[in-house]
Symmetry: C2
Amino acid sequence: MFDIALVGTGGMMPLPNRYLASLLLRFEGRIVLVDCGEGTQVSLKEIGWGYKAIDAICLTHFHADHVTGLPGLLLSIAHSGREEPLTIYGPEGVAHIVRSLCVVAPEIPFRIEYVEIPPKGFAGIKIPLTNFILSTHPANHNSPCFAFRFDIERKGKFDHEMAQKLGIPVNFWNKLQKGNIIEHDGKVFTPQMVMGQQRKGLSVSYCTDSRPPKGLPEFIADSDLFVCEGHYGDNAQLAKARKHKHMTFAEAAQLAHDGNVKKLWLTHFSPSLPNPKDFVKNAKKIFPQTKVGYDGLTKSLVFDED
Amino acid sequence: MFDIALVGTGGMMPLPNRYLASLLLRFEGRIVLVDCGEGTQVSLKEIGWGYKAIDAICLTHFHADHVTGLPGLLLSIAHSGREEPLTIYGPEGVAHIVRSLCVVAPEIPFRIEYVEIPPKGFAGIKIPLTNFILSTHPANHNSPCFAFRFDIERKGKFDHEMAQKLGIPVNFWNKLQKGNIIEHDGKVFTPQMVMGQQRKGLSVSYCTDSRPPKGLPEFIADSDLFVCEGHYGDNAQLAKARKHKHMTFAEAAQLAHDGNVKKLWLTHFSPSLPNPKDFVKNAKKIFPQTKVGYDGLTKSLVFDED
């Protein structure tokens, strides 16, 4: 089960009834957080998944509303008893930014590994301690910013008939399924002999803060869920969106359509947009499977039946 | 009118229903904020006094729960259109700490003046742009920390009979009341000639995070309101309070009693204390004028009638 929680949906500044935009992803009990603005430790408490299993934090960019919750969250993760290292991904300079913010949190007891995202992004890196495969793609904002894609891969099906035919003892089947090579009675059995073609996995993509980025539809292609900023609901605010390097609902929907994703969640609403649902039709016209996100919205993705 | 608002009452970490401890003071429209943990800009929004008139921020110490809200708040003050400088008071190193936290907020358009509090504290400094007189006193925590006292002084009464007796023209009276020296027809009139003895002003004191500090009763003496941490409610938690350099309700009440203050508000409750009111009797036994603080508690102090 691949669980997703929209932790907050606010852009620019936290509001009494809207936490700052961030996203939680969980697979096999391991957790990845995307962005960490002021108050994220509180919004995570509302979600209730705990702090201890957060193995990575992916930062889209370094604007205050996406990072200033880091010292508080890292201290809360420390109080939860975490000892394993935690990886923080972000644009160039990520170590300097996080260390500066953490000037008031010198006592964090676990190691923090920093991974700088190169300007062109990267494809398919496994996040340590998890089974998430992270890819990154340049966004188009007024500071270096990245869109993320999280893939969970799925192995092929174990071919029982073939295993029997090859005379592989049943007690080795599980090891082969897990990717081990077996030597027995002078014979060598490899996973390739008994595992079918890799099956369709699960994927979630995320993009904020940005104008519609070049190449994004290809980057998010066929995602099960695409979470995208909709800073402005009204199509008439397109000029404003262009000026502040954000998107309208319609632009986000166009990306979802062009990327052939299954579902779209809108997030990162401007403080000037108290009731984003009023504008959902602007997105649904282009991409019917749109949902206006709200703080605490969750979803679980499961693998297709074979 | 000297208005006080308890912005938040939480210690250590913000909780879904309890913002981090901080205090707002307002006199003649000018505002001073004490401490600024994560989420303070949101709790300030709940109070509703606005951001623009915040002339000073006084930091008790540099633990994360007292300072990490600074970059977000300073940006929100900037968005409010403030252009006047803002003064930040804090222990030694305050400029370095605030600048490090603000690594993600380089575009703050107003000047920030930093005032380092020397280890022994200072007495009676006027906060620029306000009529608050700030005094500081060393607290006893596990990092350099200070208690604060805010005084509003009150001039003596204008002596109309004396002014008439001295033959001072009525059009100079207001100027003399404002502290100006007047020369007229070869005569010199000074405020001292016509102003009575200075009258009782108003004062609010604040102490957190700390063990009961040496000399504090004298420092807070006769305050109209003393806002003090009560990290632990139960007297049985005294050993814990000693270990973590905090106070129990009873210890805060003893300070209020010894300082002969008018009223005590308790704040900065441990996350392990969800219902602080359950323990108020531990304080009231020692100091009956105790109130268990809550987020959004406000009070207005007025000068005594003449």
